[in-house]
């Protein structure tokens, strides 16, 4: 009961913060609000028993993302222009899409249902055999590094590629005879 209330409160606060982000025109406030949004998300994830994910979301979303956005704002300027078009068109599109997706969720199983399909096929094997086969009690680490190791290799390569992409875009070439601004 308490867990469900905590999750519901967190989600409601996140909805409020998202609306505030949409309406605010000061981009510095938007970045700070997005950091608060990430912290609320991390708390909701901790209430959902996702310990690894909550730690990653707090560190990545509220830590590194905020730093990157502030660094970009320093280079780009932090005030948004007034919207020139009326918001009616996008609002209608968004509401219709939302109603369609809500109609789609009626086929999903209820919250915290032990008979849901996701608890049946391969996960009981991971939970039982995982610590025995790999010797690692944390099933998430075992699945991430051993059972689904190829996916993690791909993800490390994606992070590496993003890094060299940013290096290629933002690297300064030293031109001979021209003073570089520090």
């Amino acid at each position: 009961m308490i867990e469900t209330t905590v999750i519901a409160v967190q989600l409601a606060l996140m909805a409020g913060v998202a609306v505030a982000i949409a309406r605010s025109r000061n981009l510095f406030a938007v970045v700070v609000l997005s950091g608060a949004y990430s912290f609320l998300m991390a708390t909701a994830l901790a209430a959902l028993d996702a310990a690894d994910v909550a730690m990653t979301e707090a560190a990545v979303g509220a830590g590194v993302s905020t730093v990157l956005l502030l660094g970009a704002l320093h280079l780009v300027g932090s005030l948004e222009a007034k919207p020139a078009r009326s918001p009616a068109g996008p609002l209608i599109v968004v509401v219709l899409t939302g109603l369609l997706v809500v109609y789609g969720t009626f086929g999903l199983s209820a919250f915290s249902d032990p008979q849901a399909p996701i608890h049946r096929h391969v996960v009981p094997r991971y939970l039982e055999e995982g610590p025995k086969e790999t010797g690692v009690p944390n099933v998430v680490t075992a699945v991430l590094a051993s059972y689904r190791g190829y996916d993690t290799l791909g993800e490390t390569t994606v992070v590496f590629t993003a890094g060299i992409g940013v290096i290629a875009l933002l690297r300064r070439r030293k031109r001979p005879g021209k003073a570089e601004a520090p």
């Binding site: 730690m55 730093v67 790999t134 680490t141 590094a145 390569t157 890094g163 933002l170 690297r171």
Partner: protein, 142 residues
């Protein structure tokens, strides 16, 4: 910001703890929540904290650009290297069972090195991106 005494003192106290905590999260990822991604991001966050307070030049002296750039590539190399080690020892690519005489110990070893590779790449990339954004300077004044 390096003139502000509160930030300097708090930074000097917190940054070593943050780095040790990152190492704890990395090595205890097997027994509690944690692992390579979280540890890499915490290391990068601690060094970014240092750079924000004491200036980019001090941060570049502490962690040079060449080291960060090699960290970016080294992590992927370690990960792929574990896969090749599996091949050389007679199994499939990324097969951990052949890395030791006891298959469970082989799994342990494989998972350990793979998480180290992930942490090195993630921390290198986050740090390098921060260095690039902060070092760009303001060319077009608002």
């Amino acid at each position: 910001m390096r003139k502000d005494i509160v930030l300097r003192v708090v930074g000097k106290i917190l940054i070593p703890f943050a780095l040790v905590f990152a190492l704890y999260v990395q090595f205890h990822g097997d027994f509690g929540p944690g692992g390579g991604f979280q540890a890499g991001v915490i290391i990068a966050a601690a060094i970014i904290f240092y750079g924000v307070i004491f200036g980019l030049a001090a941060s570049r002296r502490a962690v040079p650009e060449a080291l960060v750039e090699s960290m970016v590539a080294l992590g992927v190399l370690i990960y792929a290297g574990i896969g090749v080690a599996g091949l050389l020892l007679g199994g499939n690519y990324l097969d951990y069972f052949v890395l030791d005489h006891d298959p469970v110990h082989g799994q342990h070893r494989g998972i350990f090195w793979v998480e180290v590779g992930v942490a090195v790449t993630v921390s290198g990339v986050m740090l390098k991106v921060f260095y690039l954004f902060a070092g760009r300077g303001r060319d077009l004044e608002e």
